[in-house]
């Protein structure tokens, strides 16, 4: 009884401001859009039929491609940074980690805006190249998939570094020494010992980057143009631009399902268990 009383504020909040709203999204996804963006309370499966829309499928495919690229680049770059900190960080270890976490406390909007200063037609890079007479006309650096990719990697790299570092810091060094004594080359030690033993960190980092990136809205909005549309921006456009709420709801549910399925698979694969063991 007391447990119930103590948990009720968060249970209430969870129910009213998360579960019921998601229920309402499900409800709206079955409604009809009237002319002028009004809602007609008429049951239909139209929105779900439009999930098969070729344009939407194209955007979905591009979102997956950009997300996969972001995960791969973050994994390579993050592994390098995490490995360096764990093995060679020495007394600077804490400072280097602190610098990785620091951006979490700052505005993500402003950090993306900073990329606009770098990449815009009259931005730093273009002005610099013009000054050096390397180019006459500014290069179109902003509003394409590469700008979006840069912004995504920039924003989500810390999400990859932290779990990788945790895994690398836990790695038992004596195993590596034993392998070296037995004649394993450094490449063999890395690919046969270090990587397999940090699999948990690789998995966690990849999921932590994948989940927010696939639904990202602001980065494609500011750094990508019409050509670099991603599913998050597309959903926002359906809602705010076209006021097509039923369709936007169906697409949002699809996005949510993708992410929940991903986490389900992740937990099934044993992800997060190491962190759990650590806590105990």
């Amino acid at each position: 009884m007391r447990t119930f009383a103590v948990l009720s504020p968060s249970a209430f909040w969870l129910l009213v401001f998360t579960l019921i709203p998601v229920g309402i999204v499900i409800y709206y996804s079955f409604l009809t859009r009237g002319p002028w963006g009004t809602i007609e309370f008429k049951f239909t499966l139209d929105s779900y039929r439009q999930v098969m829309d070729p344009l939407f499928l194209k955007i979905l495919a591009r979102s997956f491609k950009l997300t996969a690229l972001t995960v791969v680049i973050c994994l390579a770059a993050g592994y390098l940074v995490a490995y360096w900190i764990a093995f060679y960080g020495g007394r600077h270890k804490n400072l280097l980690l602190f610098l990785v976490i620091l951006p979490f406390w700052t505005s993500y909007l402003v950090r993306i805006y900073a990329w606009m200063i770098l990449l815009s037609d009259h931005g730093l890079i273009n002005n610099f190249l013009v000054l050096l007479h390397l180019i006459k006309e500014p290069l179109p650096l902003l509003h394409n998939q590469y700008a979006v990719l840069a912004g995504l990697v920039y924003t989500y790299l810390p999400f990859m570094i932290l779990p990788l570092y945790a895994a690398l810091a836990r790695l038992d060094r004596s195993i590596l020494e034993a392998a070296a004594d037995l004649g394993a080359t450094s490449a063999e030690r890395f690919f046969k010992i270090t990587i397999p033993l940090t699999k948990g960190g690789i998995l966690s980092g990849s999921v932590l980057v994948f989940a927010p990136v696939i639904g990202e809205f602001l980065i494609p909005e500011l750094l990508g143009g019409a050509k670099a549309m991603m599913i998050g921006k597309f959903i926002a456009l359906k809602f705010l631009g076209l006021r097509h709420w039923p369709l936007g709801s169906a697409y949002s549910l699809l996005l949510l399902t993708i992410i929940l399925a991903l986490f389900y698979v992740y937990l099934r694969l044993g992800g997060g268990r190491e962190a759990y063991r650590e806590q105990r």
Binding site: V6, L102, A114, L118, I214
Partner: protein
């Protein structure tokens, strides 16, 4: 490992750290130069900062952001603390399930949270404004504060509480005099993490704010839509640098107290 490998790795790391910090450095430098676009250093000025301080819209937006962030921190830290307490102390049916549902907002894309709440508010005819922003922020902050406090709770030595009870303190007194003081760093950390989350949130707020109420990130966004301007650079620098200073001072103080 060959001797050049660590050096190559150091070089790679240096470039990656530059990648992580160069954009912000450029932002800061540009906020201090007089011209709109520049490549060379063209003198030093604080006029963009003066423009920020004298801008009424920005001042109003800061007020709105604080009116959301401060109550959000207080309410979500309080709820998060008692939730963490219950989840950690009591074993009950459906505890695992409750915990996994509780963390759903943490993995939900901000976009979906914003849209779901927008539909919900429209459905129950709640007028959009500061109040709806606050409700939204509390709902994404509770899982965060719970998580941070639980992490601290797991490091508490249970025997201290048992000792208090053995010496005759009732459950309430034990909680007030033993558990809460031990939890204080965790509660503080939760509050310190929630404040910038709420203050800087853009995506969720973008969907659940009405026409009349603009938080600071929304104001910055509409300024960005109008084009790059040195005033945004100055404002952006303030938004990024002030929390950094607070966090650095905070961690230094924590180090000293330990």
């Amino acid at each position: 490992m060959s001797r050049t490998t660590p050096r190559l790795m150091l070089f790679g790391c240096a470039i990656l750290y530059m990648f992580m910090y160069a954009p912000l450095l450029v932002l800061i430098v540009f906020s201090l130069t007089p011209t709109k676009y520049g490549v060379a250093w063209e003198g030093f000025t604080l006029k963009w900062y003066l423009a920020v301080f004298n801008n009424e819209n920005i001042r109003d937006a800061v007020k709105v952001s604080l009116m959301v962030a401060i109550p959000c921190v207080l309410i979500s830290t309080a709820i998060g603390t008692i939730t963490a307490f219950a989840l950690y102390r009591y074993k009950f049916l459906g505890r695992e399930l409750f915990q996994s549902v509780l963390y759903i907002p943490l993995i939900m894309p901000d976009l979906v949270i914003g849209i779901a709440l927008l539909l919900f508010y429209t459905f129950i005819n709640l007028e959009l404004g500061i109040f709806t922003i606050l409700l939204a922020h509390i709902s994404f902050s509770i899982p965060l504060t719970t998580l941070v406090v639980i992490a601290r709770m797991q490091r508490i030595d249970r025997t201290l509480e048992d000792a208090a009870m053995d010496l005759g303190a009732d459950e309430w007194t034990t909680m007030r005099k033993v558990t809460l003081p031990l939890l204080k760093p965790g509660i503080l950390a939760a509050a310190l993490l929630t404040f910038p989350w709420s203050f800087n949130d853009f995506v969720v707020t973008f969907f659940v704010s009405g026409v009349g109420s603009s938080t600071l990130p929304l104001r910055v966004y509409s300024m960005i839509r109008l084009g790059v301007s040195p005033m945004i650079n100055a404002l952006g620098t303030l938004i990024v640098v002030i929390p950094l200073i607070v966090v650095i001072i905070g961690t230094q103080l924590e180090k000293r107290s330990v």
